[in-house]
Symmetry: C2
Amino acid sequence: MTNKDTDTNSAPERKRGSGVKMVYDLLRDEILDLVLPPGCPIDEVQLAERFKMSRTPIREALVRLAGEGLIATLPNRSTMVSNIDFLNLHTFFDALVLMYRVTTRLAAEHHRPEDLEVIRARQAEFAAAVQAQDALAMIATNAAFHSAIAEAGRNPYFIGLFKRLLDEGRRILRLYYQSYDDRLPQRFVDEHEDMIAVIAARDAEAADRLARTHAEQIVQQIQKLFARNDRLEIAL
Amino acid sequence: MTNKDTDTNSAPERKRGSGVKMVYDLLRDEILDLVLPPGCPIDEVQLAERFKMSRTPIREALVRLAGEGLIATLPNRSTMVSNIDFLNLHTFFDALVLMYRVTTRLAAEHHRPEDLEVIRARQAEFAAAVQAQDALAMIATNAAFHSAIAEAGRNPYFIGLFKRLLDEGRRILRLYYQSYDDRLPQRFVDEHEDMIAVIAARDAEAADRLARTHAEQIVQQIQKLFARNDRLEIAL
DNA sequence: TGTATTTTATTTGTCGACAGAAATTATCCT
DNA sequence: AGGATAATTTCTGTCGACAAATAAAATACA
């Protein structure tokens, strides 16, 4: 059980400001991937000894996560991973569809040549995930694709909200997608290609229209999954 | 120089979790009111002795403010009040107009009777501010009015972005509004009344249309102020 | 045996202190 | 004297420890 730092005393072995970011990034991923499921209690001391650092940087990471709504903290007691509000999912869908439309429209209006390369690269990754029938990779690469489009739109306010929505969507989809059994993903690939084309053509109206139908397509897909699973869960 | 707590030792005199919130709220107000102007350096030690508490709760408040983009922090060095990006103001206007529209439309669709009472109360406060020709009160009460409409729309994602935009708008307007010299405010009062009417009538399309013209009205007003002042500032 | 009260235990919020990084000033060499 | 290097200062990031607040357990009481 000999540790690698057997010299005089404890070796931090890590740069000064990096601790918080590391904890923040890792916890964020674990929350979005449902490694830490909704409602899962978060213990500061436990995290402190897991990452081998003091509670102070842990707390800072938690405060930032709370600011994004990913964890909820009761005063003086227990902080836990935020629950997903299934009763008000329609507000999520409303916001998601609108941000799909707005960001795609703005990308058509404001994109630069180098943006298109990034977008096409993301689309290739998404297509690869579909080809491989890797559902989790589809979720991630689809989010990255639309995130790249949003960046090309260059509106930080929309980018911020949209990324947050895509994160929440990642969490929701993880709950339901285990495997793909239908041919819809290939349709998404084609629609993505169409979106790239109208963005490149700087056709804002067409971009809006395509993004709208694409988004509503996805929302319908999610709702169908929910309806299917709800029938099962009611039995519990 | 005798302080009020002259007894044995230091008297905290404040509840356990309240320190962070107090510092956060106060700093937030001071930033939005430009008491702390953009670029103003923030010193943790200075704040700690000002509020008579340790640096720990101060830092937590600062982390939360940084999460909202109100302060910017360079690693290991100086944290300061965020600057206003005047070069990209159009992104702010785009987002503001869209959120005006969406929140008003959703309010028309989803409001409940008690929401209308709150909205009317805010409108009364705005009208009073216009009557008193109090420009700063107009800014605050106008934001509160539209915030109440957003709440009635009941979409937390839109509410969050909209409130953030209204905050930023409060900061921008403080820079320019010293006094009112024209009759536009009265027009805003009338438009507010029209908006309340269509919300109460649950006419979503009309709400969208009114909100749009109202928002564009305000944006034009701000841009006019900017054009006027820019001519002066160029001389510097 | 069931309920109210006290005691214990666990976890958070706050504190003072120290060490690392960058900016500032002082010193030295050519 | 001018510029490079070294010392100082100043502020942030991290740490360990303590105290308050709440939950859980134990005890007393009817």
